[in-house]
């Protein structure tokens, strides 16, 4: 013990601690993660109460959406929000930071997850309930939200692993042979990617001596060039594998069509975007010098991914595998934004990610309804669904146009920003590839539409012959499957007509990533300058 003269405060609050409590309103930064984590625990306890599971999961995700909306409004008003755990002063404590990028990603992810929670009621059987679909879904959302909101690079790794282990569980839920096969490839490659990520963190820690993102952003400018390039290259490789960018994209179409449709939709919407988000966060905010040096590599990755994604979709007969290749094409567009690295590029990329999370989730869900009506995954035997369910064809074509970036849907606006960014930078390779990607996506996706809805009957049969293997949707499937999908597509259409706030938010996100003064000062607010 110290001498009796030492005051109580001096004993308990040495200079490395924050004095005073975090303002109650600032706790909002951890709410999305905490709610998901506690919700998952609650649902594990309620695992034998099947009717309660989905209701509780829905309410919890709704609460997460509300906190994300509030978070986004706060960030709009006051700039980045930060909170450091355990009263340790940053950079020593683990910091949670919500800037515009993180808040936008987290909000769209929770909206997509909410639709999936409702849709999942249609297709889960008793076994999947018992093995914990809803707890795993909430854990996945917890990992995803944590990745978007953390301000500490090692903590980002931990959230990646939370997300990964939850996705393993969801992927093999049901335990069909094809799922085991997909999970082996998904499991090994994603494990390898996180190991690479950890290696990169080790190097970065060796160079800068800190793990706090804001602190690294301050210090990386003075770091030696060689080690910095090594670390940046490893980060790019690791996030490229996580995001399924070419040439590390093979695991995605091998795995994403094997589980239940609800799980596919969740993965297609959320998981790869986390990889892209991390690439933006690390290479733009933390290591801008590394991004500049790696620009030719990122350009090659972006161009190849943008072209090969839709071409892969064109060559598929399996509907969900084709959508998987469209996911990859979208990742190429996100990397194109990273290549540009200007305000238009980064802003366009962030808005594209919002669009991509919502649109691809909806795309998988519509595909799932088509599969239920036709009883097959093979587009050659799906013909004639228009005669059975015409509204579905409208949903599908809206999503096709949104994916390709045709007006007036949501996909148009980020593409315009990206192309404008490319023209301003004089980067004609990116501009040409972006437009080519739109064209190829349109061809691949509308070809799916034509085969599923436009033509009648099986492939090879005369088109006038009706396809008698199709069935109508039951009232349950309409209420719990079609209705939420319509709601999600309606959201995409409305956002497409009123994109102003989103474009403004994307601009703020880009500025905060490119010139992180506001981000850094939010993290280090209240730290005595020594």
């Amino acid at each position: 013990m110290a001498t009796a003269a030492t005051s109580y405060d001096a004993l308990n609050l040495p200079p490395a601690m924050i004095e005073g409590a975090t303002a109650p309103a600032d706790w909002i930064v951890v709410w999305p993660v905490a709610l998901a984590l506690f919700g998952a625990g609650l649902l594990v306890m309620l695992r034998n109460q099947r009717p309660l599971q989905s209701v509780f999961a829905g309410l919890i995700v709704l609460a997460i959406i509300v906190s994300n909306v509030y978070l986004l409004l706060r960030v709009f008003e006051a700039g980045p929000l930060a909170m450091t755990m355990g009263k340790w002063l940053p950079p020593f404590g683990i910091t949670f930071v919500a800037d515009m990028t993180g808040a936008l990603f987290a909000l769209s992810a929770s909206v997509a997850a909410f639709i999936v929670v409702i849709f999942a009621k249609v297709e889960l059987d008793g076994r999947e309930y018992r093995f914990g679909f809803y707890p795993l879904l909430l854990l996945l959302l917890c990992g995803v939200s944590g990745s978007f909101l953390t301000g500490d690079i090692f903590n980002l790794y931990v959230w990646f692993e939370v997300m990964l282990i939850a996705s393993f569980g969801l992927l093999i839920l049901g335990g069909r042979r094809i799922q085991i096969d997909g999970a082996v490839k998904y499991g090994f490659l994603n494990f390898l990617a996180t190991a690479l990520f950890l290696i990169a963190i080790a190097y970065l820690y060796g160079i800068t001596g800190t793990l706090n993102m804001a602190d690294i952003a301050r210090k990386s400018a003075e770091a030696p060039v060689g080690p910095l390039l090594t670390a940046s290259g490893l980060f790019l490789f690791a996030f490229g594998v996580k995001a399924a960018a070419f040439p590390a994209n093979a695991w995605l179409p091998a795995a994403y069509h094997t589980p239940a449709v609800a799980v596919s939709a969740l993965f297609g919407g959320l998981l790869t975007k986390v990889g892209a988000y991390a690439a933006y966060r690390v290479l733009v905010l933390m290591l801008p010098a590394g991004r500049d040096m790696l620009e030719p590599v990122i350009l090659a990755v972006a161009v190849a991914t943008m072209i090969l994604g839709p071409l892969g979709a064109l060559a598929q007969t399996n509907l969900r595998r084709a959508i998987g290749f469209l996911v990859i094409g979208g990742i190429g567009v996100l990397f194109a934004g990273l290549t540009l690295g200007t305000q238009h590029g980064i802003g366009g990329g962030v808005i594209y990610a919002v669009h991509s999370i919502l649109t691809l989730t909806a795309f998988y869900l519509v595909g799932g309804l088509v599969e239920r009506m036709s009883g097959t995954q093979d587009i050659r035997y799906m013909g004639g669904i228009y005669t059975v369910n015409a509204p579905l064809s409208i949903l599908f074509i809206i999503l096709v146009f949104a994916m390709a970036g045709l007006p007036p849907f949501l996909g148009l606006w980020p593409k315009i920003l990206l192309v404008e960014g490319g023209v301003r930078a004089g980067d004609w390779v990116i501009v040409t590839t972006l437009l080519l990607n739109s064209l190829l996506t349109l061809i691949a996706a509308s070809r799916l539409w034509a085969h599923i809805f436009w033509r009648n009957g099986h492939e090879g049969a005369r088109s006038e012959q009706p396809n008698d293997t199709l069935r109508r949707l039951t009232s349950d499937e309409v209420g719990l499957g079609l209705a939420p999908t319509i709601a999600l597509v309606a959201l995409i259409v409305v956002l497409g007509f009123f994109p102003n706030w989103l474009i403004e938010a994307g601009g703020v996100a880009a500025i905060d990533l490119l010139e992180p003064e506001r981000y850094i000062s939010a993290v280090f607010a209240g730290v005595p300058q020594s």
Partner: protein, 125 residues
């Protein structure tokens, strides 16, 4: 000391990459286990190896003594070990299930999700 550890890490990475390139799931699992250890040792080394002064703050000071060991890499490694262990356990069970359900330890024979003789895309519109 650093040089010796770096050599060991390089050896671990080489062995794990060689094993991961194999077609046999069992060998890949061993590769995963060794890879995890290689990464942990790397974190340990990048935290700098210092003399044997325990990182304990003396009674009358606010900071540890100059030159004391860096405790942070050990916290990081502890986290990474726990996570890596969980992942390895899952992959081990997954590999066993794959052996049971697909009757294959060779990845070449795991073509259920991506059939080898996949049909060509339809040529009509």
């Amino acid at each position: 000391m650093e040089t010796a550890l770096v050599g060991l890490i390089a050896l671990f990475f080489a062995v794990s990459l060689y094993l991961l390139l194999s077609k046999s799931i069992i060998r890949m699992l061993l590769g995963v286990a060794i890879l995890g250890n290689a990464v942990n040792l790397l974190i340990f080394t990048t935290g700098r190896l210092t003399a044997e002064i325990p990182p304990i703050v003396p009674e009358d000071a606010y900071a540890p003594i100059q030159g004391s060991a860096n405790p942070l890499p050990q916290a990081l490694i502890l986290t990474a070990i726990v996570i890596g262990f969980a992942m390895f356990a899952f992959l081990l069970v997954l590999g066993y299930r794959a052996y049971q359900a697909l009757d294959a330890d060779n990845t070449d024979n795991m073509r259920l999700a991506e059939p080898e003789d996949a049909p060509r895309p339809p040529l009509s519109y």
